[in-house]
């Protein structure tokens, strides 16, 4: 029996219901997702209940009618990089393959709250990427032209225009690396990271997907032919027709269970927030050259991030000197933040590929699929990634947008090297 029958009743999220519930002591809100016991087997098992895994399950159920699906999560859903990222969303990437993928995602962001009936607070406030030297200007303009050709908005701003867009930006010529201009993608912005995971979880749950938390995958079982038959977990064996690994920083560990070595290294990436203050930042500002970026959340904290630590680590922390460099850059770009204070600093484990582009698709093991390598910049891709990976899983062949992002590219040399032109990609 499919576990659909166990589904909890649904109450639509709306102003009306919010008031109705408020008046009755909020007793009527149902669970946003169940806590099901694992079934013996599923058509598809997704490993990893991050945004990408949950979105995959949601679209599998919604668009491909595959509802006998489990998402297995070793901890709590959304607790991986989805719950610890700086939430920058944009699609102004360089290569056509990337443009297609990230733009697909941005389009989905634009209607995601309605789609999920969950306010994910997608806030297209504009993402501005700064150029500090002539090389930056060349690279930035190359992106802008490439994006125009692809039908993706991205525009060049002079320093004065950049400051008009973000008044606290320091465009003085006397600073060490003066701002020579910026690329602005107005449709870029941020979303509430947790809400994305929760919205997809609630949506998938409603469609019958079993989200099983505190269930760590410890092994991948294969039959004599080598085909995947299921996964060993801390809650026992769970059979699966297909397994999709969507485990971000832990992908190498999981793929190792099927004897596949991956072109991945997992690095700590840190972020931090300031104490909440009244609004000063109307948009997102990024500087790849001096390694810092900042936005302000709806609650008022400045959300700040930078580059990764230099060594492989699964510790979800990083070095103080990285925070230091991030904040010296922030103080340089926004001198009036110097007296503000850091409230909390944390790290995630990002799975970095040699070309900084993700890997989506089949693996050498039959029945085993992987969606990983999003590294420092996959939050923005959550809806699109889930969407194309669901199609790939359902049809056992790559969705056209996912097709270039195969594992094979590392053998043929057909890399999609976003790193070549820009140091970090958030």
């Amino acid at each position: 029996m499919n576990s659909n029958a166990l589904m909890s009743p649904s109450v639509r999220f709306s102003l009306f219901n919010l008031i109705k519930e408020g008046l009755s002591g909020n007793a009527g809100w149902p669970r946003q997702w169940r806590d099901p016991e694992p079934q013996p087997a599923y058509d598809v098992v997704i490993v990893g209940a991050g945004g990408h895994g949950l979105a995959t399950a949601y679209y599998l159920a919604k668009e491909h009618g595959i509802r006998n699906v489990a998402v297995l999560e070793k901890g709590w859903l959304g607790g991986g990089n989805t719950g610890r990222n700086t939430t920058i969303i944009r699609s102004n990437y360089l290569w056509e393959e990337s443009e297609a993928l990230y733009e697909h995602s941005v389009k989905l962001w634009e209607t995601l709250s309605d789609e999920l009936n969950y306010n994910v607070m997608y806030s297209p406030r504009g993402v501005m990427m700064l150029a500090h030297n002539i090389h930056d200007v060349q690279v930035t303009k190359r992106h802008i032209h490439a994006n125009h050709l692809a039908g993706i908005d991205n525009e060049w701003l002079t320093p004065e225009e950049a400051q008009e867009f973000c008044p606290i930006l320091n465009i003085s010529h006397d600073i060490r690396y003066p701002i020579l201009g910026a690329a602005l993608q107005r449709r870029g912005g941020t979303a509430r990271h947790d809400a994305v995971a929760w919205g997809y979880a609630r949506g998938a749950d409603r469609l019958g997907v079993d989200i099983i938390q505190n269930c760590e995958v410890k092994g991948i079982r294969r039959d004599a032919s080598g085909k995947v038959t299921g996964v060993e977990t801390t809650r026992g064996f769970i059979g699966a027709g297909k397994v999709g690994v969507v485990a971000a920083g832990h992908t190498s560990v999981l793929m190792g269970m099927a004897d596949i070595r991956m072109p991945l290294e997992s690095y700590p990436l840190q972020a931090l927030v300031s104490e909440p203050i009244k609004p000063i930042m109307p948009c997102v500002v990024m500087s790849n050259t001096i390694h810092a970026y900042m936005s302000q959340s709806d609650k008022g904290e400045l959300v700040i991030g930078a580059g990764t630590d230099q060594y492989v680590s699964y510790s979800q922390t990083g070095g103080l000197h990285i925070t230091q460099h991030t904040l010296d850059a922030i103080c340089e770009l926004f001198p009036m933040t110097r007296r503000l204070r850091m409230l909390r600093n944390w790290g995630g484990i990002v799975d970095v590929t040699p070309d900084r582009s993700p890997i989506i698709g089949k693996t050498p093991v039959e029945g085993l699929f992987v969606n990983c390598g999003w590294g420092t910049g996959g939050f923005k891709a959550t809806p699109g990634s889930g969407h194309v990976f669901a199609a790939t899983l359902a049809r056992s062949e790559p969705h056209p947008i996912a097709a270039p992002f195969t594992l094979e590219r590392f053998t043929t040399g057909r890399l999609i090297d976003e790193a070549a032109a820009a140091a970090v990609a958030h």
Binding site: V253, R261, P263, E265, S315, T411
Partner: protein
């Protein structure tokens, strides 16, 4: 900021003096021309990326300048040991228990010694 023992300086020094140089014991094929595309891709890109004990390379870039190897736990970031380039990984308990026999295809002496070109 990690504290790293440089086996050449024979001193613990702060991380900022060092540059991590990725996985250790990945030998450059002796005769690249005869490798298959897959083998070359493995050399270029495939990495163990272990959760647990890693053998990695560091360079004491702002110190003695030497590359050396380290065994480190990627969960605690604690170093088990460091040793000079070209030396075999020591038979430390932590390393032995975490590394399945045969899982490292690179030769045990670290980087390839001399190639005859």
């Amino acid at each position: 900021m990690l504290l790293i023992h440089c086996p050449y300086c024979n001193m613990k020094r702060p991380e900022t003096e060092f540059r991590n140089a990725g996985a250790a014991h990945i030998a450059r094929p002796l005769d690249p021309a005869t490798t298959s595309d897959a083998e070359w891709a493995a050399f270029l890109y495939l990495r163990d990326n272990p959760k647990g004990i890693i053998a990695e390379r560091w360079r004491h870039a702002h110190g003695c300048g030497r590359f050396f190897n380290a065994i480190r736990n990627t969960v605690s970031d604690d170093f088990v040991t460091t040793y000079k380039a070209g030396e075999a990984p020591p038979e430390t308990e932590a390393f032995a228990s975490e590394v399945a026999p045969g899982s490292r295809e690179a030769n045990a002496t670290g980087k390839q010694a001399e190639t005859a070109l």
